[in-house]
């Protein structure tokens, strides 16, 4: 044995034992194999964990924005204050500001507290009305303006509570944090609890979050996504109306007609590169060309739509070309063989067969465009917009917001309640994306043919 040690160590290991037992080296190699495998598994696990973590974080933070706390009050609409002349003239009613409506709500709340004998310790009158949202008078005003005949009577009105009170029932605000908060006191929270026990205060599903316009910094409880959803919808319409025909036309040319020469090569290279240009550069293009040069209005869906159209075009062209390529040549040859012209072959036979693939690509392109944020920031869509854009086509030129931009906008605000709103908006955005992608998958499964 001793003289064998002079040979190489590997030889020792190899000759030492039986074939059925692994030597050290083999064991090492197998251990390293296992390590490598585990490393791979960890990587896959990390990827899935990241997805789960991302979605959970957004869901946990955002789900509460779909619920909102209201106080139901019987508000007396005092005719002497709201309509001095008594003729229900809408013009005159419009001149009555929210400052007139605010005391009505405060009175109704004070009355309710008094009737039920709710003890309010250490709260001034201002503190009591502080649990009502600053938006409440404005919504009461719009209720009255919509139906002036209510003046003089008493309406049961769901009043928005202040964002902090709402946060208390969602766990964002606690007694301890209220102690340190300048905007809310523990006594106010106790009052809210008392109202809840009396059955006036409840937390329910919040449709306004989906339909109401944005609200100012101090009124997170009233902020909604109405304008943003409408703006995004307008932009998607423009993107669809422009990029689908242009993209399909360009693809047909490149796939079916283009001679292989320098110009075609240039176009192909351009499309490939455009797909990789950072989105913010498209924003700069939009700002320079559509706003500064062509003089289109800022924050308008038309500019956003044009910019997103240019971004979506490469996606659609690539998908359409793949779909056209997938149609077997036998179809073309059969059509040509019975005397169809090339154009007829394409428009009557190839294009309908490629349509599912084209639509799938278009929907995926639209989904990408829907989530795009950076270029929209540059063309001024971050502006604070409270007015709904009017119906198309004029509405395309009205200022509007967009879903992803609204998210960004809300994250820039001071009140932590806006973080909840931003996460809620993301949930809405993700739901739209899931629907669009689901539709694309469905289309592909249902109609895509394999030859």
């Amino acid at each position: 044995m001793t003289d064998m040690t002079t040979a190489s160590p590997a030889a020792v290991a190899r000759n030492a034992g039986s074939l059925l037992e692994h030597g050290d080296r083999t064991r090492n190699r197998h251990a390293s194999e296992r390590r490598f495998r585990i490393l791979g598994l960890i990587a896959v696990g990390f990827g899935i964990l990241a997805l789960v973590g991302l979605l959970t974080s957004i869901l946990v933070n955002g789900v509460s924005s779909f619920r909102q706390t209201y106080v139901t009050l019987d508000v007396q609409l005092d005719e002497a204050k709201l309509d001095k002349t008594g003729n229900r003239n809408t013009e005159e009613l419009r001149k009555v500001t929210t400052f007139v409506y605010a005391p009505l709500i405060e009175k109704a709340l004070a009355q309710f507290i008094e009737e039920r004998g709710i003890a309010v310790e250490g709260l001034t009158k201002k503190d009591v009305s502080g649990i009502i949202s600053k938006e409440a008078p404005a919504s009461l005003r719009s209720v009255v303006l919509a139906d002036p005949s209510k003046i003089g009577g008493t309406v049961s009105f769901d009043v928005l509570t202040d964002g902090r009170i709402d946060g208390y029932y969602k766990g964002r605000v606690t007694m301890a944090s209220a102690e340190l908060d300048r905007n809310v006191s523990p006594a106010q929270l106790k009052l809210a609890d008392a109202l809840k026990d009396a059955g006036a205060l409840n937390t329910r599903f919040n449709w306004d979050f989906l339909t109401a316009p944005d609200a100012s910094d101090t009124r997170p409880e009233a902020a909604g996504l109405g304008v943003a959803i409408l703006g995004s919808a307008y932009m998607m319409l423009i993107v669809l109306a422009l990029s689908l025909p242009i993209g399909v036309a360009a693809s047909i040319y490149l796939e079916e007609f283009a001679p292989s020469n320098r110009i075609t090569d240039t176009i192909e290279v351009n499309i490939a590169n455009l797909a990789a240009v950072p989105s913010i550069v498209f924003g700069i293009l939009g700002l320079a060309v559509f706003i500064n040069y062509a003089g289109l209005p800022q924050s308008a869906p038309v500019v956003g739509g044009l910019v997103l159209m240019l971004m979506t075009l490469p996606t659609i062209i690539i998908a359409t070309r793949a779909a056209l390529k997938a149609v077997p040549p036998s179809i073309r040859e059969a059509a040509l063989g019975i005397g169809a012209s090339k154009m007829q072959t394409i428009f009557h036979h190839v294009l309908p067969l490629a349509a599912p693939g084209i639509l799938t690509g278009t929907i995926i392109g639209l989904a990408q465009a829907l989530g795009e944020t950076a270029p929209l920031l540059l063309i001024g869509m971050v502006a604070f917009v409270r007015e709904y854009p009017s119906a198309p086509p004029e509405g395309f030129f009205d200022p509007a917001s967009a879903l992803p931009v609204q998210v960004y906008n809300w994250t820039q605000r001071g009140d932590p309640a806006f973080v909840e709103r931003a996460s809620g908006a993301i949930i809405v955005l993700l739901i739209f994306l899931v629907i669009m992608n689901g539709l694309a998958i469905l289309l592909r499964r249902r109609f895509e043919r394999r030859w």
Binding site: R37, L51, I58, L274, A276, I280, I284, Y408, T411
Partner: protein, 486 residues
């Protein structure tokens, strides 16, 4: 008549053209008792195309050229005396445009008639308050010369729009009529309209070139403008980024490039190993069931908008890193940091790296694997010693593509990296990137012609050149590699 109404009229004419063309072909064929060369619809189609397309092309060109031509004409009439000290002619022109828009509003609301406006003079009546009534706020009183320019801007604009309408309608009717009168049974209508459509298809494919041209032109034009008022040497080599609202800013790109590079580096350090391992595991080890579940799950990450990642960085990752790592270790107390943005961006890039590498690994021929197994190599040895070297060029291409994504990414860094431009090596400090500064310089309130705003175009051009270079290189490498095994 607005352009959109004009477009609708042209579309209506197109429909009329189709019907008339078809009818003429049919009736002529009936009268002469001959057969049509093409199906009757093609005669209509050719008339319709000749009606609409020239009119739309003319409308497009007109809308494109009108602003420039009018601007130049008006700009020349403004005397030098009307331009304030240290101001630029372009600023005065911006005022002219705003006043003209305001006057449109005043007239529209019926506060003043066109005739009154024609004799209105800025030195007598108070134009500023009139405009304020309709919501157009002006910084100072209107100078007579500027006001006159605004009035002629309006009137030239009006005349131009009038002639535009006439010209477009004339083009539609004229060429439509010409096409209609050429309709004969013997006319090869199908060939005519097919050639026409083919030209339209070709024109659509030129949009891609036009877009690239638009990007390059808008970036280049304003960048040249920027370098005229700010020295290029300072921009490229200064280490200080300190824009001032009142001018006298330091606009050095180096801190921004450093931030961009650092964030991208962190992102790639996370995304490349993880993405690569995922690709290897899914391609070589994973069973069918795991693969069919894990691959789509990871690709979902690629479909999530970047704003979602941005919010994730802002509300989850940032505070977590600050409270659990940065503060206990005394490395800083900012929740937005290079690490925050880098890690989140890394997660975003994982599917990008993994799906590209997956394709590349699958493209390595099975014979190479079999050869390696035959020599007694374990699976991991085969991967490390045979597959990786064979796939290396493709993987390098994938990494370069991911790097170009990282450099151009905006929302994650806007929400996660911070806004402080600094040259630091501590990854838990807030730093800023080129894209963050493009956003902040272009969404601020500074005057458009100031270097503080124009610098965004120079930054954009830098970004464009970098990402384009990386992409071209990556595509070149990937293409070269692909040929190897085909």
């Amino acid at each position: 008549m607005t352009p959109s109404i004009l477009a609708l009229i042209v579309l209506a004419l197109m429909v009329v053209g189709y019907i008339l063309g078809r009818q003429r072909a049919l009736s002529l064929a009936k009268r002469d008792g001959v057969r049509l060369h093409s199906l009757p619809g093609y005669y209509g189609q050719s008339v319709a195309l000749f009606t609409a397309v020239p009119a739309f092309v003319l409308l497009g060109v007109w809308l494109f050229l009108q602003p420039v031509l009018i601007e130049n004409q008006i700009s020349a009439t403004i005397p030098d005396s009307a331009i304030p000290e240290g101001g630029a002619r372009s600023l005065v022109m911006a005022d002219v445009r705003r006043i003209a828009d305001g006057l449109d509003l005043v007239v529209e609301q019926g506060n003043i008639s066109e005739d009154d406006l024609a004799v209105m003079r800025a030195d007598i009546s108070n134009v500023r308050s009139r405009l304020a009534e309709v919501g157009v706020a002006l910084g100072s009183n209107v100078q007579p010369a500027v006001f006159e320019a605004a009035k002629s801007y309006r009137s030239i604009g009006k005349t131009a729009s009038f002639w535009r309408n006439i010209a477009v309608l004339a083009a539609a009717l004229g060429s439509g009529f010409l096409a209609w009168s050429r309709v004969r049974p013997a006319m090869r209508a199908r060939n005519v309209s097919e050639t026409f459509i083919r030209a339209l298809l070709m024109a659509s494919s030129f949009i891609a070139i036009l877009t690239t041209f638009g990007i390059v032109a808008s970036l280049l034009f304003e960048t040249i403008h920027f370098f005229r008022i700010y020295p290029a040497k300072d921009f490229f080599f200064s280490t200080i980024w300190n824009p001032q609202f009142r001018g006298g800013s330091d606009l050095g790109i180096l801190p921004l490039l450093w931030g961009t590079f650092y964030v991208s580096l962190v992102a790639l350090l996370l995304a490349v190993p993880v993405g690569l391992m995922i690709a290897i595991y899914l391609a070589e080890y994973a069973g069918k069931s795991l693969r069919s579940f894990a691959k789509p799950a990871i690709e979902i990450l690629a479909g999530i908008p970047t704003i979602v990642y941005g919010l994730f960085a802002l509300i989850t990752v940032g505070p977590f890193l600050r409270d659990w790592i940065a503060q206990p270790l005394g490395l800083g107390d900012s929740s937005s940091s290079v690490m925050t943005a880098g890690l989140v961006m890394g997660i975003m890039l994982i599917p990008f790296v993994s799906s590209l590498s997956d394709d590349i690994i699958n493209a390595v021929p099975q014979s190479m694997r079999d050869g390696s197994y035959g020599l007694g190599a374990t699976q991991s040895e085969t991967i490390k010693k045979v597959i990786m070297p064979a796939a290396l060029p493709g993987i390098v291409g994938a990494i370069l593509l991911a790097a170009s994504r990282a450099i151009g990414e905006t929302m994650i860094v806007v929400m996660g990296a911070g806004a402080a431009a600094r040259l630091d090596v501590n990854p838990f400090e807030a730093m800023t990137t080129v894209t963050v500064k493009i956003v902040s310089q272009l969404t601020g309130d500074t005057e458009f012609a100031s270097p503080e705003t124009l610098v965004a175009f120079a930054l954009g051009l830098t970004l464009f050149v970098f990402t384009l270079g990386l992409n071209v290189l990556a595509l070149y490498i990937v293409r070269k590699y692909r040929e190897q095994y085909e």
